[in-house]
């Protein structure tokens, strides 16, 4: 009982409820939603698996975004950085029809993640050193980033025919799930581990809540901000790898398109306030999965893509209202008001009798 209570009051409770509701809805309305088959080569196959696979990119991005938002910043450049990272890895490996790699894949991967970090560092410098407001600072890369990606690919969609490249977001033979799910899992564990074993999380929160006071206790506010943006860049770099491997190509126009908004949404749905401070990594992960589930649901129901936003909007507002403390207070008040009225009405009835 106590356990239940501590669970319902935990920060993860509401995000989980929101996801559960969505899943139950799916279970009822989408035929075979929870079916999972095992293919001949030992892979798992089904809608739930799709959701996991598809959401892994968003999960990774939302990790970085959570930390950035916790410092009361925001990073709207991640989508563009994903495109840059994808362009780097694909142009390095090269689009040769004979399936050979021009650069060793490991090197290319390293380079693309490195570029991601570099982009993050750039944002970090603008925000931490030049003290530019985060939205504007990251807007620069958001504007120019896709251009840089296109410059790298010369406006082409560079298709990679080198076979091993597909395994980043595909299934390595013998594994039950695509690699990107494991990558996402590893990233989540890494971040959780770092948060548990170091005090970075505490410093990030301090900076987000009261930067002046954080400075007065000796926290290097500049460094914290810098690291956080660099990490967000790192996440975007990794996502770029996955996204390009998914389609085995770098599509500078569409890789990571609008992902920044989804990542921010995931963080918000996970219970972290956009004004910074306390953050909930678990919540963000669930938020990311929720968003992907929503998209998959709507595809499954055949809602057409242009009307999809309407449903998404309504779902988002509903989820926000469920999570809003004030809405709950108001509801409780309304309920108690009603029952009080009922009681007085009863009392009156008794009096009359």
């Amino acid at each position: 009982m106590d356990k239940l209570k501590s669970f319902t009051s935990s920060s993860l409770f509401l995000p989980i409820v929101a996801l559960a509701v969505l899943l139950i809805f799916n279970g009822i309305f989408v035929e075979g939603f929870f079916d999972i088959q095992i293919t001949e080569d030992g892979r798992l196959f089904g809608r739930v698996i799709d959701i996991l696979t598809r959401s892994s990119s968003l999960v990774i991005l939302s990790l970085g975004m959570t930390l950035v938002i916790a410092t009361s910043g925001i990073d709207i450049s991640v989508g563009a950085v994903v495109a840059i990272s994808a362009a780097v890895v694909c142009t390095l490996i090269g689009g040769r029809g004979d399936g050979a790699a021009e650069t060793p894949m490991a090197l290319a991967m390293l380079a693309s993640v490195g570029i991601g970090i570099l982009c993050g560092i750039w944002n970090g410098i603008l925000v931490a050193k030049f003290k530019i407001q985060a939205v504007v600072a990251t807007l620069i890369l958001m504007t120019a980033g896709r251009g840089i990606a296109q410059l790298l690919t010369e406006g082409q969609i560079v298709t990679v025919y080198y076979k091993p490249f597909a395994s980043i977001a595909g299934v390595i033979p013998g594994m039950p799930l695509p690699t990107n799910v494991f990558i996402a899992l590893a990233m989540v564990l890494l971040v959780v581990f770092v948060m548990k074993k170091t005090s970075i999380g505490l410093f990030i929160q301090s900076v987000g809540i009261n930067p002046t006071a954080a400075k007065y206790v000796g926290i290097n506010v500049t460094l914290v901000l810098f690291l956080v943006y660099a990490f967000s860049g790192f996440c975007a770099g990794v996502t770029g790898l996955i996204e390009s491997s998914l389609i085995k190509a770098a599509d500078a126009n569409n890789a990571g398109l609008n992902m920044e908004m989804d990542a921010i949404l995931a963080v918000a749905l996970g219970g972290t306030l956009l004004s910074g401070g306390k953050f909930y990594l678990g919540g963000s992960v669930i938020g990311a999965v929720t968003i992907q589930t929503l998209t998959t649901t709507l595809y499954a129901l055949g809602v057409s893509a242009d009307q999809l936003p309407v449903v998404k909007a309504i779902a988002v507002i509903a989820i926000c209202l469920i999570q809003s403390k004030k809405a709950r207070d108001l509801f409780d008040k309304w309920k108690s008001g009603r029952s009080a009225k009922a009681v007085t009405a009863d009392a009156k009835a008794v009096n009359k009798a």
Binding site: I76, L126, F130, K131, I132, Q133, V135, V136, A137, L139, I140, L141, M142, T143, A144, G145, R146, G147, I148, A149, Q150, L151, G155, A252, M261, I264, L265, A268, L269, L273, L274, S275, D306, Q307, L308, P309, V310, V311, K312, A313, I314, V316, I317, C320, L321, S324, K325, K326, A327, L330
Partner: protein, 335 residues
Amino acid sequence: MKKKISELIASKYFSFFVTVILFAILYGVGIGMYKGFMKPQVFLNLFIDNAALIIVTIGITFTLLIGGIDLSVGAVLALTCMVLAWLLANTGISVFAAIALVLLMGTAFGAIQGYLIAKFDLQPFIITLAGMLFCRGMTAVISRETINITNPTFVAMADFRLSVGAGFVSMGVIIAIIALIVAAVVLGFTRFGRNIYALGGSESSASLMGLPVFKTKVSVYTISGFCSALGGIAYALMMLTGYNLHGMGMEMDAIASSVIGGTLLTGGVGFIPGALFGVLIQGVILTFISFQGTLSAWWTKIVVGALLCVFIIMQAFITEHKSKLTAKSSLEENS
């Protein structure tokens, strides 16, 4: 003289002055590099092309001033164009009734967003993001294809040109200028306007000082909704169509303009003429690129980003050194 300078630096409008000066420099460079730049019409085109953006930026500035944000502006603008086009194409109502109707719709939509944000303490970023999704979706629900506006009165309005000096401006510009003046007066000279600044400075203080926090918040989003709809009309005057993809990404342009013009996203600081110059600066950057005339798609993006970057860093640099400058000059005065 020194005192004058230090006063200027310390003034609230400092970052506005910086913006104006940078704009002038940018324009001057343009004139130096390209002959055509000097034509008055090039300058007026900045207004004609950006009339809708100016109006939308005004609205978003209100929300930024209270430390909020409104991401729905571009989508509301698109929905306005679409509904207007649909009404004119499919019903017999008069142009003015249709305009009134869509203005009402945008205003009401803003009010609903504001109510949700203020009443339930929801995050404006998320609610208006949902609002954006909703309006985009609804636009598509009404029609996937563009709807033409052929109503003669409206077309005549669109074709209207007011000549000023050696050039001309459009109806949209006139609307934008009126909106600018009204907004500047409201923010500077009414209690409501000052409440907005107070709310942005500190919501808890504003509440403890007995200011109407809830009402102000809702009103601000309502105004933003109204401005988006008004911007939608200016946009429709330019495009004469309703289309799902109108005003895509406009929210970011508007936010960037406002911030370049000196608005702080944390709220409480901002200035309508600044927002105007923010729009103009982005406009000049694009004009530059089209006069340059050889940039490929990607270089266009990179150059826009780079110019934005130069501008923002310059502004940050000057503002950063502002405190030192004032300290220095005040010390000089002392001794």
